[in-house]
Symmetry: C2
């Protein structure tokens, strides 16, 4: 095929994709055809000339990756995959229907989507994770492409990703910004100031190329230049027009997120003439050329050696986590550690020191860190364990939310939870982490209370087929369990019991140890209590708790180093909501905490042994 | 005083501040003296030469503002305020003690702190809000200074703020980056590459000045240049050394967050010689010169006109919110609106169109938007209403968390909550918003279910002395209340009742209307139910609900368009936890939703009228 034929073919394909974008959004009577139109040439060139992939095997590990960061342009992405042969073109009319996987924004329910997008500014970080894995773990030649909108470059997460990609010299990554000038409700702040975009991208260490994004020739040249650029990622800054090719709509405000309505027929007629379907021979898709080695994981990943504590020394669960992660790393070469410059506090440093090539220092940029973790975990090759203070994981709350829509299997590890961290004060204390993480569908939330259970939580996390949150603690705790104790997801442990128990206490972490102290005090007063270590806050072990409460006169006290809302307390209450005859008391932090010694803070906020003992007496 | 004397005085002050930083962290046996040391000259010059303020009246509205974004350097900030005369220097030894407001990281419990810091990358955004208010609302000459660490420039939120400040030409804003090279666990990614910092800051539209941050002369010149720079903000890039002036520690890794221990005496002796306390005359603090007009708010802010609906047309609560905000704007000139390029969806556009000068378009940068809103709301002058889709407010979850520690009064408005938004799909649906917002201490969470109550929620929000979250909905709802209905925080409304009711249903938003439909169906079957509109999810109206449940045979059904965890359901369960004899059922979304028509989604996820009716029958 001559180069003229190539260009003409890609131009016709671009217009065909425009047609599909209009028709599918007309059918669904919602969607973003004008945002699709500006990027039609970009998608045409990428999917029908640049990218190496197999539409019949979209998750082939050696294929180039594509991430549509501007997820609202799903219609043109679906159109490209349909035209490529991934599914029948006729299915495009099912856009946004409840029984179709062609959702309003892309999700991995579709086998050609790796990550859900639609919350802006996240795609580039996912792409960084894929590119990092490609270059440093897979050591393969596949490339990663990510199309962003101009509006979403206002998101700071995008600049975290720009900084990350250049720092790690991800020359297998190519971002394309579709600078179509117009946002949802106003022009984007930089409008068509391409030189400002170029300066910013260049300053962040990328190779920047400005092109006319509606010109196939310029795009082809830019992608070639990108593939030849070494040691830095490339960003193609494509000057485009929203609604490009749509007469009367192109470059006009107030056409965001609207089907073309009665303007559609005339525009479609024009576009169809340009495509001339009868004579149109689709361009060939480049075949996969990269090689990727097969992943050979054991069916079950086991700690390389069991917990080994003599029970005399107190150990922090954050330290036990680090120990366990190092053991996991020995057992499985696909375990990856990430941290945001807190590795000497979260103890992910133990993993880093043992396996420096499988550790990614993400610096103080939690949003990008979580995005990278999600990107690394795509196509089920690697298992990402991502670390920072639990409070700062919240910085990536929206990324974790979107991770759920991606059905990611990332393991989130948050340290320094609760007022028990002490003097650093409230800004460093996670007191809402469970409230947030519990909302993630199908997640497992671990709250280990000693070193043995912490190690087993890490092992269970690695094997769980979904997202996991592990809350670790700063203070040292006594060892509660034997080294060979067996733990299961959703199975609590009764750690104190007798036949005379008058009340059940459910607790976790520091409050579990306070409960034990309280039980000793109460025992002296002739009042025996049963104490349950929840172990997992989600799922919560309803059976064990209910049985115990029924055996202790329907009395239940829940104590937690967390705000009153959404944590262990409400998890237990919800599990028992259908029960009558249970009286529940709940101790938790109820106000903004202060700096102080851990014991002082536990007392001040009413969750220490003394308050527990008093609460039990009140329940009796 | 000669300029030599000035410089010497400031150098001596810098070392005196180093001494205080060492001594106070020795006393608390925790803290970050080395991170204080690198910025000692910056703080000395700012507090004793550059800034105009009154240490005896730290919240004087005409004073220059100072924000310590690197909040872990609280010890040197406290030292500066003490030396300035805000409180006795002897109190510095109470650092991090539980009965002292000199917490590990600064909070507004101290009258010289406007905003809590300690979660990195947030201070510049708060400062942007203060500078925006100074330039555009107060129209005053006070200036805003913000010191950042180099490590935190990895946070994307910082770049959102850089972009915002230049876009709005905040030439009254001066940022200083303390480039001390070393992070917590490793060198910061850019180390001492000052030219890279300069390129980035310049590309983001700021005037960048590189200085030796340990050189008082260079700092003085840079601050002068900053004050003379028009139409753009200035960023002073100060090359410094962590632990500067601490022999054997300066520029060494592994000294983050550690008191100097047994190295302190020798270092203190050296510094004390440099200060020579006996001969040291403290530099004079520049007096306040700016003028600011007094704020004259009515004791109670009322909607300029009451709700005015004929009850025939269905209205979305997001639209009613926009209507009410416009009315509030008429009633009170201190009401400010902010949005992140969603104003035509959240309907904050109604306020923007009426009061363009009191509206801040923040573009797609929710973290900075929330920070700006918090900054604008400091010193109790303006009332910020900040808008975006509820799902995207989560992007600023950590900012909202820190806002709570700042005791901010910001009003957060999240639209497009729940699966009822329909075809756009799960990325746009907030299903965890209440779980997160409920954790904010003392917040009020409104969930209006019709236009009348939505308008009153906005009015109540404006008058509430604390943070507020209002969840608005996308679909149109029937009008439930008369235009003169009176609403109160923490007071639910019974909207359907009879003496024969066999079950209570608590709901909000779309599910309240589904409950009404279900009640009609059940009525046909001879089963009357009582229906409660919660109105506020926090505080929840325990009394009304309990009374109602007791009157309906202890049967309670809660239905919500939210995930199962942490929302209305668990709020009600927690309120009734101490009760026995109540049987609770709960309908909520339990998995990642799909795209589809709202009615289809409500059915698929089990929260429509049919599922409600079935759940009631099951409870009977």
């Amino acid at each position: 095929m001559s180069s003229t034929d190539t260009v003409t073919g890609l131009e016709r394909m671009a217009n065909l994709l425009r047609i599909h974008s209009i028709e599918s959004t007309q059918e669904s009577n919602s969607g973003h055809p004008t945002s699709c139109a500006s990027m039609a040439e970009i998608i045409s060139v990428l999917f029908f000339n640049v990218m190496h992939y197999d539409p019949k095997d979209p998750r082939n590990p050696a294929a180039d990756r594509f991430v549509l960061s501007k997820g609202h342009c799903a219609p043109i992405l679906y159109a490209a995959w349909a035209e490529a042969g991934a599914f029948p073109v006729a299915d495009l009319k099912n856009l946004r229907k409840i029984d179709s996987d062609l959702e309003g924004h892309p999700t991995p329910r579709l086998n050609f989507i790796d990550v859900a997008t639609g919350s802006l500014g996240q795609g580039l970080g996912f792409s960084c994770g894929m590119a990092y894995a490609g270059k440093y773990f897979d050591k393969s030649d596949y490339r990663v492409y990510c199309v962003l909108g101009d509006g979403e470059t206002s998101e700071g997460s995008v600049w975290e990703s720009f900084a990350f990609a250049s720092f790690y010299k991800l020359d297998n990554l190519c971002a394309i910004i579709d600078v179509n000038r117009l946002g949802q409700s106003d022009p984007a702040p930089l409008q068509h100031h391409m030189e400002t975009y170029q300066k910013r991208v260049d300053a962040f260490g990328w190779h920047a190329i400005v092109v006319n994004g509606q010109d196939v020739n310029e795009l082809l040249a830019a992608f070639k230049e990108a593939s030849e650029t070494k040691d830095k990622p490339t960003c193609i800054l494509a000057k485009t027009f929203k609604g490009a090719g749509f007469k009367g709509i192109e470059n006009e405000l107030d056409w965001h997120g609207k089907p073309l309505g009665d303007k559609a027929p005339e525009i479609l007629a024009t576009l169809k003439k340009l495509v001339n379907e009868e004579t149109f021979v689709r361009p060939q898709i480049p075949k996969i050329v990269a090689k990727v080695s097969e992943i050979k994981k054991d069916k079950e990943i086991k700690l390389s050696s069991p917990p080994n504590y003599d029970g005399k020394k107190e150990i922090a669960t954050r330290l036990a986590h680090g120990t366990a992660l190092e053991k996991l790393g020995k057992a499985c070469e696909y375990v990856i550690g990430l941290d945001g410059d807190t590795k000497n506090s979260t103890y992910s440093i133990k993993f880093r020191d043992a396996f420096p090539k499988r550790f990614v220092e993400c610096y103080i940029a939690e949003q990008n860190m979580v995005q990278v973790a999600i990107g690394i975990a795509t196509r089920q090759r690697y298992i990402s364990f991502v670390h920072t203070f639990a409070a700062f994981l919240l910085r990536a709350a929206d990324q974790i939310r979107m991770g759920a829509i991606s059905f990611t299997r990332v393991k989130y590890i948050g340290s320094h939870a609760g007022v028990s961290i002490g003097e650093d004060g409230p800004s460093q204390m996670a007191l809402e982490d469970f409230a947030f993480f519990r909302t993630v569908p199908h997640i497992v939330c671990f709250y280990p209370s000693d070193a043995v259970s912490a190690e087993r939580a890490v092992e269970l996390a690695a094997n769980y087929d979904g997202a996991v949150y592990i809350r670790t603690s700063r203070p040292n705790f006594p060892i509660l369990y034997k080294n060979d104790e067996v733990f299961q997801i959703g199975k609590a442990k009764i750690i104190v019991e007798s036949s005379a128990d008058v009340c059940t206490i459910v607790a976790g972490g520091v409050t579990l140890h306070e409960a034990v102290k309280a039980s000793e005090k109460l025992k002296g007063l002739g009042k025996a209590v049963r104490i349950i270590d929840a172990f997992t806050v989600k799922p919560i072990d309803r059976d064990t708790i209910l049985k115990s409460v029924n055996a202790t006169h329907g009395r239940l006290l829940i104590v937690e180093d967390h705000y009153l809302e959404g944590g262990l307390g409400e998890a237990v209450m919800a599990a028992l909501a259908d029960q009558t005859d249970i009286k529940i008391a709940h101790l938790a932090v109820q106000e903004v905490a202060r700096s102080g010694k851990p014991a002082e803070l536990l007392s001040k906020y009413g969750i220490d042994a003394e308050h527990i003992a008093n609460a039990v007496e009140k329940l009796l």
